[in-house]
Symmetry: C2
Amino acid sequence: MNQRLPVQGPQGDLLRLVATGRAESRAELARLSGLAASSVSLRVEELIDAGLLAEEGAGTSRGGRRPRRLRLSPGAGVLAVADLGAHHVRLGLLDLSGDPLVIEEHPCDITEGPRRTLDRIADAFDALLTEHVPAGVPLRGVGTGVPGPVDPATLRVVTPSRMPGWNDFPVAEHLATRYDLPVLVENDANLMAAGEARWWPGTENLMVVKAGTGIGCGVIAGGRLHRGRGAAGDISHVRVRSDSSVMCACGHPDCLEAYASGAALMTALTEAGIAVTRPADIVTLVNDAVPEATSLVRGAGRRMGEVLTVLVNFFNPDVVAVGGSLSAAEPLLTSIRAAVWERCLPLATRDLEIAPARAGRDAALQGAGALLLEAALTM
Amino acid sequence: MNQRLPVQGPQGDLLRLVATGRAESRAELARLSGLAASSVSLRVEELIDAGLLAEEGAGTSRGGRRPRRLRLSPGAGVLAVADLGAHHVRLGLLDLSGDPLVIEEHPCDITEGPRRTLDRIADAFDALLTEHVPAGVPLRGVGTGVPGPVDPATLRVVTPSRMPGWNDFPVAEHLATRYDLPVLVENDANLMAAGEARWWPGTENLMVVKAGTGIGCGVIAGGRLHRGRGAAGDISHVRVRSDSSVMCACGHPDCLEAYASGAALMTALTEAGIAVTRPADIVTLVNDAVPEATSLVRGAGRRMGEVLTVLVNFFNPDVVAVGGSLSAAEPLLTSIRAAVWERCLPLATRDLEIAPARAGRDAALQGAGALLLEAALTM
DNA sequence: CTCACTTCCTTCGATTTCGAAGATAAGCCG
DNA sequence: CGGCTTATCTTCGAAATCGAAGGAAGTGAG
């Protein structure tokens, strides 16, 4: 089950081009890889013989002979990916194109510490593999998202605020002892950004904002995930303008999170005598036109927009995608847009799109697949 | 004089590695290019025969035989680069390693419009070429920085605020009619960032802040210049927190530029009855311990730091380099640091360096050389 | 329908690149 | 000084890659 991919050389490039959906025929592979068409044919032949690629019907003509469409063979392998949240873990299996085979969600308490949590995930992987993957189809890589910063150099979790016992734990190494395979460990917002990027083809610079219980943000710069030193994308502890002064858990006053996160909105609603237990409840209230909820969401959007103004001027992205459970509340996006359009430089907003996230609930898992694929097919 | 470089294939890679200073010997070339040592030797032989590379003595041993040091041949060619400011143009010739051969500064009024300005620059180039470059040494590329946003797709200047007559002018095309060569047109802050990056080897993510008459910023993300859609790096029109309210030229209140730019400081000093005509005068006043000047610079630094706080959390760079004429005033950097350290996430500032820019006055020209080289040796 | 044209893919000899082995030139150390 | 180690660079047969030519399979115009 641990058979390595025979993809050291140019074959890896070809496989990756097909896996990521960038190429579907030998001709496209030749164009994108820079190899001669004849070499592509030879390599593709080998990949088909190795059971990694498969021919599947014909594509649409571009004015000449129709291309023979190439796909990753279903037997080429699977990836096991997880997205660890505070109380739940979402995990599943993907094929090598990053498309989901099976995804499920389990309750899970990260305060149990890294070992138990990771072992639970691995057990769940094993169960899914036995049930859904025929014998002989190899597992090609394992990846997980964690709700905290990850040092990209060591793949350890660093100074996570809500993950007691995880600080400096070598997550990747621990998983690698159980799976002798490429292992990916990444912050959940970063994974979400990587997943969302698949839904915006051609978009080189993308910001993905996750408005849920907290406020997360992932960044795609130049088509690649921007990690910085592992902490990139934090926008929740930016100081916002405000009349009063609210202390944030981080010890500073007036953080965005203290005003605009789902948690902050829930607190405010509860204080107003309106019962909510999850951010999704806020969306329901807004849809039911409860004025307090709508007004709060508007304020949250305006404050997020205010922060995004700075970042849009600076980063000048093509797209700002807004996801997370709160994003289902219409007024959020509207007021973010209003704030950004009003205050940003015209040049920065000229072609800017501020839009709902497209990837849906499995964004992070899709992102894990995309990154893992790159890793698994590069070595 | 317009002989193209014979560098389509892997030879281009090798030449680029030598030109950018990343490799100095055949062995290093082999390690960095991924080619076999034997292939490298063959290619290098050809490049030497073509007069592009030259052997120059021996390098230092790493424990075995000493490498034969490779350099770009002085006859390999030159680049002509300019950095256009509001009242001056700084221009010169570089060798293919990006090192300056000759640099001079002319007064120049960009309000004369693009044609006359660019023709003046080209005339100056021609004069320098006749005087400083032996016949037979070809010009390999031409580049210029402009004090406004450049659309990376069309290489036109777009909606520049202080360049009347330049809007949408095809700068690159105009230069290309005179020089049948690779042409580079780029925003000046971006060039400065590209130039500064040469002085921070190994630094993948870098912000360069230029504190002069205005406030500019260039961004290196993942080792490459981040352009966004052409407007990236603007930080001058970010709203800062303030008690009073000052209107900025852009039409919005309380822009950073209205408080912390050299122009704003000069206005404030003049109003206080202290005569200044250039940002450099402010530095003199600070060095002479004039309290009003020092206090103003401190305030400017604090406000810049406030804005940088947001960006450091978001972008999580390795280095923030502060340049521009105001950066010579000690208190500026100090108060920027204080603001960032105080408010940023510990994780983001853990390994952050906020330091004076290293590249000096010719940063933009060096950047033009670096980018142009990439362009000239890639095609 | 025919014919010109485009695109996709393969065949095959020429060229490039590789990689193992060896030659060359140092440093280290007793 | 003279082996021993390390590193750089070259030689040469094997393997991969290229590119021109051509066959295959489509489109579209007359």
